[in-house]
Structure formats: C-alpha cells, structure tokens
Symmetry: C2
Subunit: 540 residues, 2 copies
C-alpha cells in the first residue's frame, strides 16, 4: 500500500570500507593512521597516498576489475594497498610471504595479476612467476630500511621504487568507489593444504559489514591503537586495516613477529588491541623475562587459527591481556564466530573458564546464522556436546566464490549454507566447539577419534609446548593416533610417559600409539601443517 | 576478468535489525532485555513475545505491507512492537503521544492503519480516528499498572487487552524476515510544524546500518543499560530499540520524563546510556537537591533537537554525565551528524569546549556525506564559519520517501542529496553549525539575523532558563526579533535588562525589540514550537 520509491543517490550508497578512509581523513585528518619505525602518517596523508597509488596504478595501465598483487610484510605500503588498489577499481590480491616461488608463480598466473607491489626481500620468490607472466607488468618495489641485506634483483626485470611510483600519480585524483557493493574488493588464496590454493573473492559489502560487526562484537572504541601482528595477507589481516579506518585508529606496523619488538611497540605506542594465532600468544606468554612486559591497562587480543590452550590464556591474563577467541576461514573474511563471554563464566574456575573460551562459540554480530549439521538430508545436531556434525554458516561475510572455479564454489555453498568442512559439536549453551577437520578424524577399529581431543590432553602435560596428532596406518585397527610433540625448554618426558598421561585423561583406546618429538612444521599463519606430518609418516 | 558469481542465500542476507533480536535471544537468552517497574524480560522472552505478537497480528488479518499503528508511552509493549510488528510483515507506525485527536485521526487515515496498539490512557485521543476508519480494525489496549485513572473506553469500540491478544498468537510462529532490505520497516510522521504531518518511510537496510553506525560512533560496548527517556515514537527512539538488540543490552522503560524517577532508575539499574533533548538535560542539571544524584561512573548521554547550552553541558559533566551532541531529522532515522570530540579540545576552557560541542558537527560512521550548499547552481560554502548555506546529506540512513507524497519526496531529495532545510556554516575544522532553519531567519532592514545567535546570547544571562526568538512584523524594518523567555526560578530580569544584555554580546541591530516572559510551548520531543509563538504574535 505504501508508495514504492526506488532507491536514489541520496538514500542508497554502495557499502564499501573505502568510505571509512574518506570519513577519517575528513573528520580526523591530523590523527595518526600508520606508524612504522621512524615513519608516521596522519589519516589525511594516508588518504592522499592511497589516492596517489590508485592514480599511479591507473596511469600504469591497471583497469577496473584487474588484479593487483602484493607480496609484502606488514609495512605501511601493504596497509595503503588495502585502499589504494581498490581506489583504482582493481582487486587487491595479497600473497602469503612464506610461499615458495612455484606457488607464488601459480597465484600470479591464476589471478592474472596486472601489477605487483613487492618487498625487495621477496622479489626473488616472485621472479619466476613474473617471468612466466611475460615480465611486462609494473613491478613496484618496497625498499624498507628495516629489511636486511637485499639480494640483487634479476637483471631481466624492470622495477620501480614504491615511493617513486607514488609520485607518478596525480595530486587531484579522487579514489573510485564501487558501482555495486557486490563488486570484488580482494582476492585471497587459501593455504592450499589439500591441493592448489583457491582464490577467494571478497566483496565490498562484506568487508564493510565485517568491520562494523567487528567493532560491535569486539567492543572496539574510537581511536584504537592496533599492533598489526596478524599478517595482512591473511584474510586481509582479518579486515582490521579497514576497521581501523572506520575508527580513525592507529596501525602500528610490524615487519616480523618478534616478542621483544612487540612488547616494545606495545609500550611505546600505548597499543590497545592486537591479534595473533595461539602460537604468537604462546611466544608472548613465554617470552624471556628480560623483555617481557606486564601492563596495568587492559590490552585486547583476538586469537584464531586454533583453540588457545588454557595455560596460554591464563598466562596472557596475568600480563594484562584480555583474550577473545574467534573462529573463521579465508572464505568468511576472517572471524565470524566468537567465544562471547557470558556473565556466569566469571564465577568459574580459571581452568573451566579457559575451556569455555577455547570453544569456537557463537555468531559475531554481522554473522547471520551458524549451525552444525549431520546426516542425509542434513539435520541440526542436538545441543548435547556429543554428536558431531559439520559447521555451516550464512551471512554477508561469506565469499562470492572461488575465482574461476565454479565446481569448488558449488561444493562450498549449497542449500543456503557455506559448508566449512570443520566437524563440531554444539553444547547445551548453544556454543559450537570444533572437534576436528573432517579429514583429521582418526578412524580406529571403527571408532571415530578426534585428534583435537588427544591434543588437548597432550597440552595438559607440563612438558608439552606444542602438539599435533594425525592418523597413522595401523595393520590391526586401520588407523591409530600418532602424536608429534615439541617439549618445553628445560623439560623432559619419555614417549611412554606421554602416552600414559593421555590415557589417564581420556578413553584409553584414544591414546597415541606413537609419540614423535621435535619441531612442528607450520604455515605462514602459525597453523601446524598436519599434511606434512602425514607425509613424514608415509615416508617413515 | 573474475568469475562473476551472483549472490546466493549463503552469502547474501537482507540487512534488517530483526536479525539482532534473533542473535541476542540465541546467544544471550537469559540476559535482561527490558525492565519496567516490577516487570522484567529476558532476550529469549522478548523474542517469544514479539513472535507471538506477530502471529497474533497475522491471525487478526494484518498482511504483508499493512500498517500497524502504535500510540503508546515508552512501556515494554512499544519496545516489543519494534520487532513484533515487522515480524508480521507489517510496517510499524508509532504515533506521537502528545498529538490532538484530529491529527491522530489524520495519521491513522493517511497511514491506512490496519490495527492499533494503544495505551488505555491514550484511547480517547485515538477514538475519533478509529471511528472514522470504520471502527473495524483490531484495537489492542495496553493496560499499564503505572498509568493513572483511566477514562472509560467509548462503548462503540471493541478492544482487546494486549496480554490477552498475545495469547492468540501461535507458540511456534517464527518471525518473518524481509525479502528485500529496502522493504519498509516503519512509518514516522513529521511533527508537522509547517502543515500536515508527512509520513517518513524507513527501510530495513537503513535501520540496520543506523544501529551499527551508532555503536561505532557512540562507542557503545556490549550489554549497555539504556534508560529510554527519548520517546520511542520519535524516529523510533533514534533507533535505539534495535541497537539494544544488537548489543544484548537492557532497555529501562520510562512512562514519562520525571527527574526523580530518572535518577532513581539510573541508580537502581546501573544505567550506562540515555538520550534526551537539551530541555531534559536542563531538567536533570537543575533538579532539586533532594533527588538529584551524582555518579562516580561515567554515564553516556546523547542529546539532540537543539544545541545544548554551555551551562547545561558543564552542569551535566559535574554530575558524571558524558554528553555527546548529535543532529538529525525524522527523515534521517535520527542522528546522522555528531560533534565528535577532538583530542585538542581537551586543552580548551570549559566555555570554549562547550561551544565546540554545541555544533552539529561531522558525519556519523554510517553517514556517507554531508555538505553545506549555497547559490544557484548550489556550491559548497567556504569553511570559514561565516557563509550560510543549506545542510545536505547522503547515506543509507535517509528515508525512502514520504508515504503517498511524491511531490514532497522530490522536493526533499534531488541532485544526489537530501535537503534538510537547515541553514548552517562550516567552520575551518570542517564542523557544521546550524545557524537557523530556513524559515527561522529574521530579515530586518535587508540584513539576515539568525534567531539562534540571539538565543545563544540570551542563554548567557544567568536569569534565563529557556529562550526562543522569532520574527515579528516591523513597520520600519520589515521584521525584527522578538524574544520569548522563561526565567529561572528565583531569578528576575526586566525586558530592558535582557535587551541590553544581548546588545552587549552581539551586533546591536540584532537585539530583540521586544521580550515576552512566560512558559514556552513545546512539541512532544521538547522542541520549542516557534510557529505557535509566531501565531501568538499575529494575534497580539
């Protein structure tokens, strides 16, 4: 019955995180946006530099919808690329800095990069890929004074220094805004533990809402000071570059994770927030006394990638850190679930509370729905903390799809859900807890054994610093659990002692049959590479 | 070049504030949602009641797109209507409780209400309108134990008690979500100072983003305790019912503004946030010592409707209130600009800081653009704090349009902007300051005189509690300023003294020619009704 008005320019603006930068540069032009070593920028300067970058890319031939790749550490240039690349109309493809040259070559080719911004230290790893592309795209090199000795660039490549490249941009260029909020903003390749990396497409709408939901869910005030310890190449650094622009916060850049540098920066810049995988928290919690710092003020920490062990949570609390555990995937723009604390948790013991915080939890404010489904046709599991199913998600921070891979896209999204591949239970309080990746379940004598359950038991041994459990072929049982363990410095434990320890905590048939001691292989984001452990077992 | 995937159910969910309620009821089912006297509800209960309301409305014949009107004070039923009515697919039309029966009749007819939820005390004012509608729509009566003696309802009307009506809803009804985020969510009539009230249409997308932007801009943490002193019928109470659902906060209901009750509720429920026109702040700041309370903790106050006088800001600060001044209109879902504090303001004197805070300011995070335009074709005014222009706005929290009024809609929105009708300057720091409504400018001897400038001068006199200036016909000058003043209790001042006071502060030609002492007529939201003052002048 109401007059049906169509949207118009005054009342319908495409959602994009690029508008956050424009607002902060207008309203808080003099506030610090980015600090890195002796360099610092205001929001006005950051807007100017991002618009120059966009203009320079356009002048260099980058067109609407093209891909611009970035292979860089968390320096100001990578922060700027989060705005400058989309301001040119292009799609930002940040590449994992720890990949081998063959995978980088695959990504540059698959993503059809039309320009590359690359840290001088990483140019060698990109060189084969650049040559494969024909070598005729602009190669913009970040020459960072904090870097070590630089290898000489390949003579066949023509490169330009990032700062000189910026100068080729026009002073009066105004950043392009998307015509449609569904337009692609960025392209993030999965870690590719199960094959070739897949290119996950983010849209402007999702990244805008990701920032808004993060502010609400993480309770971020205006002007946070955020230490960028999470690699910005990973889910666009959980979207926090854009979130910082929304809040006119300060991004404290960090070239490499180093606990001494991190504690120094936290103190020097009065850091209020940072993020990191549990392994980073573990390093901070166990940092040497000569540089570990304790803070009177509360510093907010977001952790993801694996459930934080109770001991790490407790140590972090003592240092003044308030840790929130979140869950997400590259396909979900980063964190979409959180172990949102409940008031009644405050009365629990430290150990109980740590268990509650280690769960993947409940929806972030911008996440529309989560469920755990099992069976055919799939049905929600009962909320009993026991029945396993697959976590499914729905919301505006789910990817558009995988670049040029309709089959994988259709496999990941169907029946109204995004299927995560993570196996979980739902507890009576509605909180989701991952028991395993589908492929990480160990099937022994017909019984499903969760590798995570065994790992949790291993972490309760005082000598265990890190642990991972995978299936090992077993003549009698089909599969049996094999544990890989790194011992804490100064501690010792025998294989039998570890096996007995686990057997004292969980069902005896779940005990590892074998324990291998040593360092664990990890991905760039600190995740333990179980596929590498499985390969080791095949070889042995 | 990227595979162009269409949105699908997994990755594109229509934005609506209704999803906030579903999340809070799922994640924080046991937290308090609403308290009112002895009544209190949890978020789970609120979801249940809202779904029952929606189901009952559907059973009573309300259909998708119908209007459901509510004429009620800030009691739990009005809070529930913000979810229950749209859960039925209908559009929520909250009506100003201080309107006369003729205007209520106009609104019920113009909005084509298909049901009315009405407080028993307000039924008489709705009765003529209901009879005009034919009297055959469901009339759902809120029987509030906090109300005074009730008039007997008109025998010709058939009514049903709100709680009994809820029982007619189904227990297993699930609230309907919009098929399109652009769908109308609510209908809010303007105050109609310049003619018949106009019906402003809000959409789901705008209200969702209004809540998200409010959380970011007002720095709201999870679980705020919000005292609902702003009428929920006014711009849907600035959208805060929905924002509270997003944060699983607690809504403390307030039937009528009473400083004793307000201070008591703030203490009893540990209120963290509330809103109110400057007149409400003035009442709190000047409340009698026997019930005025001072708080150690900071209570956040949002004020709008008029610039808060410096004296009020200072008194409020002393009581423990942190006041933020915001600006918006019914057409903008409430607040879209804010006097966002800058770090350098902290070094200013109290008086200077109060001046800065009294400006309308800069964009809220969800507002996309503001400008002040003058001339033909319209151009931005220079940022010199002097040149007057009209405030224009752009963003996703601008109305769809006026119900059944294409002409007024086209007049309000064109050339990519919503035109506010408010005249303002832009200061060198980019902050907008209103000098007047277009129609409130006094043109005396060819010179424009801002009534607000005179009012600000009047407020600096210690005897002045409230002041309003309008144009009065003047044989010599065309128009001249006439001041209406309410004196503070226990203070005295003569007409000449007031005129001289103003003359000592601003240009002498801007002095009021006449001062009228007495109470000032106000709208339901505490705005002084200048049109009534002008009418008085015509009569005298």
């Amino acid at each position: 019955m109401t007059t049906d008005y169509a949207p118009q320019a005054a009342n319908y603006v495409q959602l994009t995180p690029l508008s956050f930068l424009q607002r902060s540069a207008t309203v808080f032009p003099q506030r610090l946006s980015v600090v890195y070593g002796d360099r610092q920028y205001t929001w006005k300067e950051t807007l100017d530099r991002c618009q120059k970058l966009a203009s320079a890319l356009g002048n260099a031939g980058v067109k609407q919808g093209d891909t611009v790749a970035v292979l860089a550490f968390n320096t100001p240039e990578l922060f700027e690329a989060h705005f400058g690349v989309p301001f040119s109309g292009a799609v930002l493809n940040t590449i994992n800095t720890r990949l081998d040259d063959e995978t980088v070559s695959y990504i540059l080719g698959h993503g059809k990069a039309k320009a590359l911004i690359v840290d001088a230290e990483l140019l060698p790893v990109a060189t084969p890929g650049l040559k494969a592309l024909g070598g005729d795209i602009p190669i913009i090199v970040i020459n960072d004074s904090q870097a070590g000795d630089m290898p000489a660039p390949d003579a066949a490549l023509s490169t330009i220094d990032y700062e000189i490249f910026l100068q080729t941009g026009s002073d009066d260029f105004v950043g392009l805004m998307p015509n449609d909020e569904w337009q692609s903003l960025s392209l993030n390749y999965t870690s590719g533990t199960t094959g070739r990396p897949k290119g996950v497409l983010y849209h402007h709408r999702g990244s805008y809402l990701m920032s808004m939901g993060t502010i609400a869910g993480w309770q971020m005030p205006m002007h946070p000071v955020y230490l960028y310890s999470v690699p910005m190449f990973h889910c666009n650094g959980w979207g926090h570059a854009w979130t910082l622009a929304a809040l006119a916060g300060t991004c404290v850049c960090l070239r490499a994770v180093d606990t001494r540098v991190m504690f120094d920066l936290m103190e020097k810049h009065q850091v209020t927030h940072f993020g990191g995988a549990p392994i980073v928290l573990n390093m901070l919690a166990n940092a040497p006394a000569d540089h570990q710092k304790r803070f009177d003020r509360e510093i907010n920490v977001m952790t993801a990638g694996a459930p934080p062990p109770a001991s790490v949570l407790q140590s972090m609390n003592k240092l003044g850190f308030k840790v929130i555990h979140v869950y997400g995937l590259t396909e979900t723009f980063g964190h979409v679930l959180m172990a949102a604390p409940q008031v009644e948790w405050e009365e629990k013991s430290d150990a109980e509370r740590a268990e509650l915080h280690a769960r993947q939890g409940v929806c972030f404010p911008m996440s529309e729905a989560v469920d755990v489904l099992v069976g055919d046709p799939p049905q929600p599991v009962p909320h009993n903390g026991e029945v396993l199913g697959e976590i499914v998600l729905r919301g505006n921070t789910i990817m558009k799809g995988y670049l040029d891979n309709v089959e994988a896209t259709n496999e990941a999204m169907h029946d109204g859900w995004f299927w995560t591949g993570d196996l979980a239970v739902v507890h009576p309080d509605g909180y989701v807890q991952i028991k395993d990746r589908a492929k990480d379940i160990i099937i022994s004598g017909g019984e499903n054994i969760s590798s995570v359950e065994i790992e949790n038991a291993l972490y309760k041994h005082e000598a265990v610093a890190e642990a991972a459990v995978v299936a090992m072929p077993d003549e009698k049982w089909g599969e049996s659990p094999c544990a890989f363990v790194t011992l804490r410095e100064g501690f010792e434990a025998s294989e039998q002692e570890i096996i007995d320890h686990v057997g004292s905590l969980i069902a005896r048939f779940k005990r590892p049959k074998r324990v291998v001691f040593g360092a664990l292989p990890k991905t760039a984001t600190g995740k333990i590479q179980k596929y590498a452990l499985r390969q080791d077992l095949q070889k042995s």
